[in-house]
């Protein structure tokens, strides 16, 4: 019998406790939960208030060092193709055209002062495939391929997920290809002429400089 009444007592007190908790939350629904981050001391003390984030209109900021969508600064890209080869999911497509000798000045240098020797008409990153592993970033010799903190880039059409970073239009690319072929042909003719005249062939231009060692990015 005493158990019977103690059961009723327990039920009453626990229901009262539960009702108090829900009523407190109901009353506190006029305010929002604080914005203390996970590394703040009060993070677990923010129990009162609404916690809904109305996503498209309210966004929790991504940290400045967040690694999400890839971005290629094509002005610094030397078209070395290392990112393409490093990518485990093959989301990077690169097409390059060798720069002819007279175009080297037009093609310019990277911000690091390195002469660019490749036109990059196609530099496509399929961010839908990209798994943000960061290998391409760590192998990039000129540090032109980076992760950005942009995390929300959804599209209605999956084809829009392919980002184009190439710096030549199709017509320009054709022109450059033609120019390269002409130069090659001219060189071949010159070589032929040289061979015919019995001279040693013209030495090739200096090979591409060795890629800069990964150095500080090796830890990633």
């Amino acid at each position: 019998m005493s158990e019977y009444f103690s059961n009723i007592k327990t039920a009453t007190t626990t229901i009262a406790t539960g009702l108090t908790i829900t009523l407190r939350h109901f009353i506190n629904a006029v305010k929002r939960k604080g914005d203390a981050g996970i590394d703040d001391a009060d993070f677990f003390r923010q129990v009162d208030g609404l916690c809904t984030l109305q996503y498209p209109r309210e966004v929790m900021p991504t940290p400045a060092n967040a690694r999400y969508r890839l971005y290629n600064n094509i002005d610094d890209c030397i078209g070395c193709n290392q990112c393409d080869r490093a990518c485990p999911v093959e989301c990077i497509t690169i097409e390059t055209i060798k720069v002819t000798a007279d175009d080297l000045a037009i093609c310019g240098k990277t911000s690091g002062g390195q002469q660019k020797r490749m036109w990059v008409p196609v530099f496509d990153i399929d961010v839908a495939k990209c798994m943000t592993c960061g290998i391409c970033v760590s192998v990039c010799p000129t540090e032109c391929l980076v992760h950005t903190p942009v995390a929300d880039f959804s599209e209605f059409d999956v084809r829009n997920m392919v980002y184009h970073f190439g710096n030549l239009s199709k017509i320009e690319a054709q022109a450059k290809t033609k120019k390269l072929e002409e130069e090659k042909a001219a060189k071949a003719k010159a070589a032929e002429a040289a061979a015919a005249s019995g001279q040693a062939p013209v030495p090739k231009p200096a090979p591409k400089p060795a890629p800069k060692p990964a150095g500080d990015q090796a830890g990633e």
């Binding site: 539960g18 009702l19 009523l23 939350h25 109901f26 629904a29 916690c51 809904t52």
Partner: protein
């Protein structure tokens, strides 16, 4: 039974209104509670419950359709109207179709004796409370018909649980209401309100006039939750165990009918609770000296406002409980009914009788 000549003036005048022998007034009298159920279920019932539950869980609730999501229920109704009305091929078609109708009619018939203020009541029966308790039991038939007619094991389980639960909980509920009837000395719904109204406002309510009235009050409130299949007694629908209980197979407007019936009886039991123990349409404000608050807040319109406010308050408590407590097990439910509520209801009954005889 009209206790005083000023009672039921509006509804009497309305029901006498005919056009060429056609009792249009009677139809209007019947339509007013129906419109009320629909409006309240749309606004306070569905939207309010969503918002209350959201706030209790630190969420915002519907926010997208209209400002603060106020048009969400309209969008839901549009969706329900467009839904295909599916009747399963192996279902018992007659029972399947008639189930939600019986359920809604059972819930709606009780509104006939619900006084919306001193001047309006569908039918001022001298057995009003008895009728209200009895006619709501018709819902059991609707639940069983839809559960059996669905030819679905979840639906049948839900229906069986529901019938066992509702029939069991009728007993403590009725005995608790009988305590109120003893205090009022009548079963007429208007009489309950009349004897509980007076210049001292809430001091005339049975809950505050009788030292043991809180016991039948709480017992009836708990039992009414179970009769409505409201949480924590929602084991007939038990969405985590039985899909959706007895309305698993229902779609479209038939499903909406169950919802409407549920919200209808939610208001009905809340109104009965407030009529029997909290004065119904009587104003709770007392006359304080020269400040005649009670006299100011009495009358046909104020009466309607008070009873709707009181009903909405208890609906809020029902929602509050729903979003606080987990569901009971079937055996716990029966334990609570037969071993706790029923004995205590009898104790309350005897104590009320003693109080009424000797005090």
């Amino acid at each position: 039974m009209s206790s005083s000549p000023s009672l039921n003036t509006w509804s009497d005048a309305l029901s006498g209104f005919t056009i060429g022998g056609f009792p249009l007034g009677l139809i209007i009298v019947a339509a007013i509670p129906l419109v009320f159920i629909a409006l309240y279920a749309l606004t306070y019932g569905v939207y309010g419950e969503r918002k209350f539950s959201a706030f209790m869980q630190d969420r915002l609730g519907p926010m997208e359709v209209g400002p603060w999501g106020i048009l969400q229920t309209l969008a839901d109704i549009l969706k329900l109207l467009q839904k295909e009305d599916i009747v399963p091929t192996v279902a018992d078609k007659f029972l399947f179709v008639i189930g939600p109708l019986i359920m809604f009619v059972g819930s709606f018939l009780a509104f006939a004796v619900l006084p919306f203020g001193p001047a309006f009541i569908g039918a001022d029966l001298n057995v009003g409370l008895f009728y209200a308790v009895g006619i709501v039991a018709l819902e059991v038939v609707g639940i069983l018909a839809s559960g059996w007619g669905s030819n679905n094991k979840w639906a049948l389980y839900g229906a069986i649980r529901s019938v066992a639960q509702i029939v069991s909980y009728e007993i403590p509920a009725s005995i608790a209401l009988l305590c109120g009837a003893m205090m009022a000395g009548s079963l007429s719904m208007q009489h309950f309100n009349v004897v509980q109204s007076g210049p001292y406002g809430f001091m005339h309510f049975f809950l505050f006039r009788n030292p043991i009235a809180w016991l039948p009050f709480i017992i009836y409130f708990i039992a009414s939750l179970a009769e409505n299949n409201r949480a924590p007694f929602d084991i007939p629908e038990a969405e985590s165990e039985l899909v959706a209980g007895f309305f698993t197979e229902y779609t479209g407007m038939k499903f909406a009918m169950f919802f409407l019936a549920e919200y209808g009886s939610m208001f009905m039991v809340s109104a009965v609770l407030s009529i029997v123990f909290l004065g119904g349409w009587a104003s709770p404000l007392p006359n304080i000296g020269g400040l005649a608050l009670n006299t100011m807040t009495s009358g046909p319109v104020w009466g309607a406002i008070w009873i709707i406010l009181k009903g909405f308050f208890f609906i809020f408590v029902q929602m509050w409980l729903r979003w606080t407590l987990p569901r009971l097990r079937v055996d716990q439910l029966m334990y609570l009914c037969w071993k706790v509520l029923t004995p205590f209801a009898f104790i309350a009954f005897v104590l009320t009788a003693v109080w009424e005889i000797y005090m």
